[in-house]
């Protein structure tokens, strides 16, 4: 019975890994269509992908966007998480739900709403609306991770610092911040991934000149099917895997993702 159960678990694991493994292996095929397993091996699609301006430019855009969104959302999230965990005021739970709302509202709806709002108000800056939208969707992941870290921190540790003569600001800098730093870093890494991989929000907010990598891949896929997509994907998967291992080491992956 236990063996049957483990066999079933093995099948599910294979299902989860299948598309990723196939992409990685197919990226090394030499032909013009992705093959699994490749009949001939080569690195030519890596070279091809890295020579395509749309991929390189959109990748740079995505890196900028994800970094900027994460860096802007983090202080907001830190302040909000601290206020919610350490504050005592009516409506705390409701406020917490409100701050996590970008996770409940479908992101395609968020994307459209921002498009509409900016168009109605006549704001034409693509970068602004894109960064704003990404700050909004990375924010709740950061709030949740930082709140989890803060709630594990004994408030008496902060009080002890205050009795020893530390001002509230100094207490925050010397005691609170160092102790929640792993949570903040983990939240930032995950926020970066969320922003970098986002499609359904960016879909409505980019234009031909300002594109993100997932969108570039998506539009490339409409007319091409060559393994250069697999090559790019493999590079991204490698980075994601490294980040995942890092997150698991820092705080445990699950605390970041929640559930």
């Amino acid at each position: 019975m236990t063996r049957l159960f483990h066999f079933f678990i093995g099948l599910l694991a294979a299902f989860i890994l299948a598309p990723i493994v196939v992409v990685v292996v197919a990226s090394f095929s030499a032909r013009t269509v992705p093959e699994f397993p490749p009949s001939e091996w080569s690195f030519r699609w890596y070279e091809h992908a890295l020579n395509q301006a749309i991929f390189v430019n959109s990748a740079i855009n995505s890196l900028w966007l994800a970094s900027l969104a994460t860096l802007l959302a983090t202080p907001l999230a830190l302040a909000a998480a601290y206020a919610i965990i350490r504050g005592r005021f009516p409506g705390r739970d409701a406020l917490q739900t409100f701050l996590l709302a970008p996770l409940i509202v479908p992101s395609i709806v968020i994307g459209l709403s921002i498009l509409l709002a900016f168009a109605t108000l006549g704001i034409r800056d693509i970068g602004l609306r894109l960064v704003g939208a990404h700050v909004l969707i990375t924010f709740p992941y950061l709030v949740r991770t930082i709140m989890a870290s803060l709630s594990r921190l004994d408030p008496m540790v902060e009080e002890a610092a205050r009795t020893l003569g530390a001002t509230p600001f100094r207490t925050f800098m010397t005691i609170t911040l160092p102790l929640v730093r792993p949570g903040i870093i983990a939240g930032m890494l995950f926020a970066f991934i969320v922003s970098f991989d986002n499609v359904s929000l960016s879909l409505f907010l980019t234009n031909a000149r300002t594109n993100t990598l997932p969108l570039a891949i998506l539009s490339y896929l409409e007319f091409n099917f060559d393994p250069s997509i697999a090559a790019i994907s493999t590079m991204l998967v490698t980075v994601s895997l490294l980040v995942a291992v890092l997150l698991e080491r820092i705080v445990g992956l699950r605390k970041v993702v929640g559930g």
Binding site: P19, I20, A80, I104, V105, P106, V109, A117, F204, S240
Partner: protein, 286 residues
């Protein structure tokens, strides 16, 4: 403890962000859904329910709505049935297995949906891994159409929602006192009866949270139906995209989006109601 004034100061930027980029824009979207469109942001005439009448009165749109709900339901059921064993395995797994399995189960989340969709094309396509295998084994002569079907959408969606289902159930399982299994055994229950009468009922809140999250994720997924479901609008989300980007009918697109939002919020609301009736607390978040 924080003084009220400092608390307000710390929360102000976050609340401002929410209001400026979520509350107000969604308000615009809902308002927009009650006007008739010209092109883009231009509207004609006054307040009207015409868009809603059009959406709910036309068999074409209703079929898309119905298909979205039906496919999402199937995805939810399958992911619950496959997610429970995975969560149970992780719950009981030794330390050595836990970390790699966590990364494995969460991998669909860490890899862009665009990438996994591409992978599914390679697997399910007419010249894909499965069709080649079937032909090699002589089980079929012509390729079977797997890609660009509802089946493909279900496969793609189950794949991306698995982490959420597993984590929700695992969170519930981990709250169970391990002594309960032992107590059940001392009272004469075998492993299946212990699972059925003790563990599963206690895991139910997790399964409930998981199905809520998964259903909301499924109805609002865009990439999977767009890439794996073939051309033309076939899902609420692709219909919205079609209206906005192809037809440039923003008000009608807003109407469809407002309906999607209403469905998503209703699901969460129902879940919270059921949960509070069960006497448990908690909020649904992905």
């Amino acid at each position: 403890m924080l003084k009220t004034r400092s608390g307000v100061l710390l929360l102000a930027p976050a609340i401002l962000l929410m209001v400026a980029l979520l509350v107000l824009p969604v308000g615009y979207l809902i308002r927009f859904s009650f006007f008739l469109g010209q092109t883009g942001v231009q509207t004609t005439g006054g307040f009207t329910l015409a868009n809603y009448v059009k959406l709910f009165g036309d068999g074409f749109y209703l079929a898309i709505l119905w298909k979205t709900l039906w496919v999402s339901f199937v995805v939810t059921v399958i992911s619950a049935v496959t997610g429970y064993p995975l969560a149970h395995f992780m719950w009981k797994a030794s330390k050595r297995w836990r970390a790699p399995f966590t990364i494995l189960v969460l991998s669909p989340l860490l890899v862009s949906i665009v990438i996994s969709s591409y992978g599914w094309i390679v697997i399910l396509g007419n010249n894909g891994v499965i069709n080649q295998l079937l032909q090699y084994l002589g089980l079929t002569t012509a390729p079977i159409k797997l890609m660009y079907t509802n089946f493909a959408i279900v496969v793609g969606l189950v794949h991306i929602v698995t982490p959420f289902m597993v984590l929700s159930i695992l969170a519930a399982l981990e709250k169970i006192d391990p002594l309960l299994s032992e107590a059940s055994a001392t009272l004469g229950a075998n492993r299946f009866r212990t699972l059925w009468y003790v563990i599963l009922p206690l895991a139910l809140p997790g399964i409930g949270a998981g199905t809520t999250i998964v259903f909301s994720l499924a109805i609002s997924a865009y990439v999977t139906p767009a890439v794996m479901g073939g051309s033309g609008p076939n899902f609420i989300t692709t219909l919205i995209y079609h209206q906005f980007v192809t037809l440039f009918n923003w008000p009608f697109g807003s109407t469809v989006a407002a309906v999607l939002l209403a469905v998503a919020l209703t699901v969460v609301f129902l879940y919270v109601r059921v949960l509070s009736r069960l006497g448990a607390g908690g909020a649904v978040t992905r």
